[in-house]
């Protein structure tokens, strides 16, 4: 039994278009693991993350934590689980109430769960600020979120998430609003918590570079319009994807090497970068360069292709190698 088990989760927003935002999603994470969720804007990453954190309930399927279905938790068991699972939101204002000082954001939870007393809560909060690389001063505790820079705000949101000593953190696009130079520092900070406290991470991002860095040794799930289309070990998925969609994403990424970028531009891919999902058959068929009749007729299941690397594609073995990987190998040889 894994710590987090997501089984056949489906979700349709009542206020939405009526189309399911998540379809039959299954995923697990063991204690101390990192599972990254990637995919284009609107594919359902935040929705899934919020469900794991218990902010919404799925309309179908189940999510279990430590073997217990979270929707069935009541009373004390529910309170205990609430403390153990925390979320850092895409927009720091989702994690930080703009009307509360940093101190007023951090202290109530710590007191409620008995992680600090009235006598030592201030001291504990200063220790937290220090742990996330902020000024450990009482003055800082008096500040409001709008008085902080983007990087400081994200660190404060991280402080809030670790204040309750959680076991699992859902980190939703934690670096997308930050400068490149600050990204690695924030990722390193989270990685320290993973290493020192054994925290499990569900790490949501659309940036494969950031994912490759954060989910080293972990796993990646690639989503396309509510479906997981590929899932496997980080390095494998990033260097040798087996689904045409993952391949398209990786070939599209801007790379910080002008010579390689020029070579890649010569060999333009022929899939469609944007467009709606297909209603029947393979959800990617409208945009897929490999699509043919069978793809329109029959929905491919997510199947393990060996070594715990799964894809949902009828023609996985036709996915070509990545050009930038070949170029890099050629250079090395």
């Amino acid at each position: 039994m894994s710590m987090l088990e997501i089984q056949n989760v489906t979700h349709t927003y009542s206020s939405g278009t009526g189309r399911p935002v998540l379809k039959d999603v299954s995923l697990e994470a063991g204690r101390g693991d990192v599972v990254a969720i990637v995919g284009e804007s609107g594919c359902g990453k935040t929705t899934l993350g919020r469900m794991i954190a218990g902010l919404y309930s799925p309309t179908g399927g189940s999510i279990s934590f430590d073997g217990q279905d979270i929707s069935a938790l009541r009373g004390r068991a529910r309170a205990a689980w609430r403390r153990k699972v925390q979320m850092i939101h895409q927009d720091p204002y989702g994690s930080l109430n703009p009307g509360l000082t940093i101190g007023a954001t951090l202290s109530p939870g710590m007191l409620k769960y008995g992680l600090a007393t009235r006598a030592n809560v201030q001291e504990r909060m200063l220790a937290l600020l220090k742990a996330v690389g902020l000024d450990a001063t009482t003055d800082f505790l008096q500040r409001y979120p709008h008085q902080l820079s983007g990087g400081q705000r994200q660190r404060a949101a991280i402080a809030r998430s670790i204040a309750l000593e959680p076991e699992l953190i859902v980190a939703d696009e934690v670096t997308s609003m930050l400068d490149v130079s600050m990204r690695v520092a924030i990722l390193d900070l989270l990685l320290t918590f993973k290493k020192d406290r054994g925290i499990t991470f569900v790490f949501i991002s659309h940036d494969f570079g950031v994912v490759r860095y954060f989910a080293q040794g972990g796993r990646i799930a690639v989503m396309f319009f509510g479906y997981i289309v590929e899932e496997g070990p980080t390095e494998e998925v990033i260097t040798a994807p087996k689904h045409p969609y993952t391949h398209m994403l990786l070939e599209a990424i801007p790379i910080p090497d002008p010579a390689m970028a020029r070579e890649r531009a010569q060999a333009e891919g022929d899939g469609r970068l944007t467009g709606d999902p297909a209603d029947s058959g393979c959800v990617f068929a409208n945009r897929c360069p490999l699509a043919r009749a069978r793809c329109r007729a029959e929905r491919p299941a997510l199947v393990d292709q060996g070594g715990g690397h799964s894809t949902a594609c009828h023609f996985s073995d036709e996915v070509p190698p990545l050009l930038h990987v070949e170029l890099a190998n050629g250079e090395a040889a």
């Binding site: 284009e40 130079s181 490759r212």
Partner: protein, 345 residues
Amino acid sequence: MTMPLTVNAPVDSNAAPFLAVEHLTVAFGDTATAVKAVDDVSLTISRGEILALVGESGCGKSTLGYSLLGIVPPPGKATEGSIRFKGRDVVRLSKHEFDTMRGRDISMVFQGAMNAFNPVLTIGAQVEHILDAHPEVYPQRAEGRAYFNHLLHLVQLQPDRIWRSFESQLSGGMKQRVAIAVALLLKPELVILDEPTTALDVLNQRLVIDVLKDLHAELGTTVLFVTHDLAVVAELATRVAVMYAGKLVETGTVDEIFTRGGRRHPYVAALIDAIPSVLKSGLTVRPIGGSVPSLADPPPGCRFAPRCRLAEPECHVTEPPLLGDRHGHRVACHVINRSLEGLSQ
């Protein structure tokens, strides 16, 4: 809506570069506590190039872009230097001159332009307003409409659908491409794009990059784009200018800037090493450490010295000049420039 802001300058002087920024300083506030967002920057833009202006947040990139259009928000103003565009000093133009000389020379797509459309008008109505305001460019409105449709094709959007759409019906990536098409509507000679790929997902970033390359190939418009994403620079720019804390620290071709082991400013090398990229396994990423200093109170000497791995005592005392080699590749670093001869200002 992202109304293209325009500056009309008389056509003459073939000797001067297309656009020349000379010793430009732009400050916010009175002199005692002024934030010099742009501090003694000199830079030229040649006709037809794609110049990337790069640097961390708060380094003065947008402010430099605004000053080319004379729209630095108050209390900010150009306190020193000049901006010569086709032989005329833009800094010295009065607001009235800007307003009355409505033409089609420079336009800008603002940072966050995706959120700058009027929500209660269709995109088509907003385009019509611009055409109405510029009969000097399109005496026949139909001509303007046709050109906008052509631009929409170039940015890979369906014209009929876009004309009828309200902003809320378009995705972020579509809005960014519409904003680019609108900025080109009056056929400017220079278009400034502030963070055109920021906040977009990977596929939309790719589309914007490809679309800008196509537009550039087809129209030959000179492009200045502002970004903090070096991967986008490598894909799109022909030349690069790097700013750090209000100062220009390096300018060169895209290959000069990215070539490993070449003559590069330590800040640029550090910035490139700090990018988590699909090309790198995690082990080869190195954070820079520290942060950009306050522009109200910058450190003496080289502003990067407190974060620099190569810094020597001199760096903390004397400001390094921006010196160029014979190819025009300029770097402002005492240590990097020391061993080289024949460099000049």
